[in-house]
Symmetry: C2
Subunit: 443 residues, 2 copies
């Protein structure tokens, strides 16, 4: 009666897996790369009010003029509902694509509306780019660390990520050259460099302007495309912007943009700007994925850009996030134990912290959540297991007061971990590790 045995009697073995999921042997090879991201598990935790979440990347929407947006959307549906609620093209609403050109012009980009494809968030743009370029086994170069959601997409297409080292000025050109040369010597096909040049997620670092032409030149010579992901570019805390890579090499850069951080993430409106032939393929791939992006959402963004002071709104976001960044940095200065180091972003949402020898941020996470503070451990931002001493701290969502309280709590947890390590050595980690999944109910 083997098949009647409880699955619990075969924990984590392949045969138990088959008992649990009768479809197991039917999945595509790529399904093996689809694993739950750490960020996803933490969405649930972050929503508990007693936990200060420095984990999520949810933008702060409190400053949005909800009443006037509501009345614009109502007029849109009442007057143009037959269009707004109907299918559109996979390419995207033409008027919005023209307005997106105006938005991109703020970072020096001169694009044509026809070369834009509107997507369901820039995540989908990244999915489409990976879909049309990456065969299984192809290499994608990315900063180390890199955006966890991008790593998930690359894994879903069985592309292998090779991380390229950063310093305080971002991607290191010499490290990029070396990575390309290693790949070439191994006969590997590098399909593109995925980079977040401005206010990097999770690193909080901006690629120095002086390095940009060099990075582009290295990729161009190597025949490697550049995928520039720029969701935070307009969120410089002093209103500063940096020249987009796309503005410096239009033929070899696919640019990904988003309204999630400058307007509203829940609308899921993003885009790709691509060389013309690539854009054509992206539209075909988009059509096979969703037929078309939601028409209503595109028209809401278009109407918002037309009728609201969207640049003024972005200035207000910059100020909010600057205050929160300041709260986080001063909290870290004040409370963190010796040996902790962190980046000092001048825009965006994130600080990247490195903890002293002896800390495993993933093992520590359940204890942090028990102490009512959450972060994302560093390993999620690497495809190769690195990052166990690192963590991402987000300052976008909680108020400055909550951020300071969260940092106080985090410092206490870190001190306790370090004390254990000093007393018992590395073995202490195994003794005290809780479950890998945060369980705030035990608090």
């Amino acid at each position: 009666m083997h098949s009647e045995e409880s699955p619990e009697s075969h924990p984590l073995t392949s045969s138990a897996g088959q008992n649990l999921d009768p479809h197991l042997r039917r999945y595509a090879a790529r399904a093996a790369g689809m694993t739950a991201s750490e960020v996803r598990a933490l969405f649930a935790v972050a929503s508990r009010p007693e936990v200060v979440s420095l984990a999520g990347g949810m933008p702060n929407l409190a400053a949005l003029p909800l009443d006037s947006i509501a009345s614009e959307v109502a007029s849109l549906i009442a007057r143009e509902g037959m269009v707004a609620l109907q299918y559109g093209s996979a390419h995207g609403v033409p008027a919005l694509r023209e307005q997106i050109c105006d938005v991109m012009a703020l970072e020096g980009i001169s694009g044509h509306p026809d070369d834009i494809v509107v997507t369901v968030g820039s995540q989908m743009a990244l999915d489409l780019v990976t879909r049309i370029f990456c065969d299984p086994g192809d290499i994608v170069l990315a900063e180390g660390p890199s955006y966890v959601g991008a790593l998930g997409t690359f894994a879903a297409y069985q592309a292998n990520v090779v991380h390229v080292e950063m310093d305080d000025d971002g991607l290191i050109p010499e490290a990029l050259r070396q990575a390309l040369s290693v790949a070439e010597s191994r006969g590997q096909r590098v399909k593109f460099l995925y980079t977040i040049p401005n206010f990097h997620n999770p690193a909080g670092i901006t690629l120095a302007v002086s390095r940009r032409a060099e990075i582009l030149e290295i990729c161009r010579r190597a025949g490697v495309l550049v995928v520039e992901d720029n969701p935070y570019g307009l969120l410089g805390f002093d209103g500063q912007t940096y020249p987009a890579l796309r503005s410096m090499d239009p033929d070899n850069v696919v640019y990904l943009g988003s309204f999630s951080k400058t307007f509203a993430s829940g609308l899921r409106v993003g885009w790709a700007l691509a060389p013309h032939a690539v854009r054509e393929k992206l539209v075909l791939a988009a059509e096979a994925t969703t037929l078309c992006p939601p028409t209503l959402n595109q028209l809401i963004v278009s109407r918002y850009l037309e009728t609201h002071d969207w640049q003024g709104q972005i200035k207000s976001f910059q100020q909010t996030y600057r205050e929160r960044r300041d709260a986080l940095l001063s909290g870290l200065e004040q409370h963190m134990p010796a040996g902790c180091t962190w980046t000092k972003p001048d825009g965006g949402f994130f600080v990247w912290m490195t903890t002293p020898e002896g800390i495993d941020t993933k093992a520590m996470l359940p204890r942090a959540v028990t102490a009512r503070v959450a972060y994302v451990s560093g390993t999620g931002f690497y495809g190769d297991g690195f990052g166990s001493r690192q963590m991402r701290l987000s300052f976008c969502y909680p108020t400055p007061e909550r951020i300071k309280e969260g940092i106080r709590r985090l410092a206490v947890v870190l001190e306790q971990e370090l004390e254990l390590y000093r007393t018992f050595g590395p073995a202490s980690r195994r003794i005290t590790s809780g479950p890998q999944t945060p369980s705030p109910d035990t608090a």
Copy 2:
């Protein structure tokens, strides 16, 4: 100076292609399967007011209560904007998933909200299912003809479609057995049967209730999953519904549903209901694709289901489409030349017409558009080049009067084609063929 030559001097050669698209050699193998669908090319044509479009599948939204939807959405944004405009989970809004269970119950389905994943239209649900199940070279079985958008998705994942014959009662069980047995003898891996059991797109046929258990049993014995695509199931013209395949075999059916035809297509809200382990993989794949479906759109649908008489609205849709179906069928009876045959749907959007020997519906299309009527030629609904004498006629969008006028125009074009064929034989096709792309400007 070979590389300086104009691309036009090497029409359609590989080197010319590389001149046109410098990224050509970088694409993934799957990108080769991404080609423009005939439906897509026709969206542009269909939008010209002088053309009666029997081509598109755009639902009729005229009956929707736009003013009251507008005011509900305004209140949603004003009162719950901080949630509606924020990121959500890849799984979908819980309240909506519960309501989706109520919708599915109308067709006999007893599902659990946790086993539903909300997607950007059911097209995305199909994309995710194909993504997690199909390796390149895997076989997908589908009715012949089948939905053009599904064929595009299967091609994008390099799955090979094997069509299974239908008769007036839908998929023929014996043909399914044979297709499975041929695949087995060739050592091919069949991953799933993709079927549209109710008011088939494009065939306008419903799978007989008496065949349903047999089809399910054949697939179950062969170890082949069933993907049931059911966007039209609630649009039976007499209010009739048929028991969903999912209701008869929950463990071996992935069910795809949509609000595009029962509420509003431009919101792009669809879903998959899947066996639990499959649903988990679908959520991970969805997360890598779009992070999450738009929160606002999910809440709009949820609010609509809560506050509007949605079942009454569906009844009104049924009546509208019945009138249009009647207009189309009576027009066909009255005007079509001898030798034309067509299906007589009792629900949905589509009639499938077979024309007499001598007609090539794809070659004829430019002439039809010149005569100000559009349809979709049959070859788009087959992965194997079949369908050249068939066409899909949609009755969902134009008014009954316009439908009748469109059929009159189509009959004239067909008569002219047949006359040419009778006079000059098959060669006439080559003499009179215009460009493959419809060019209504020449009208």
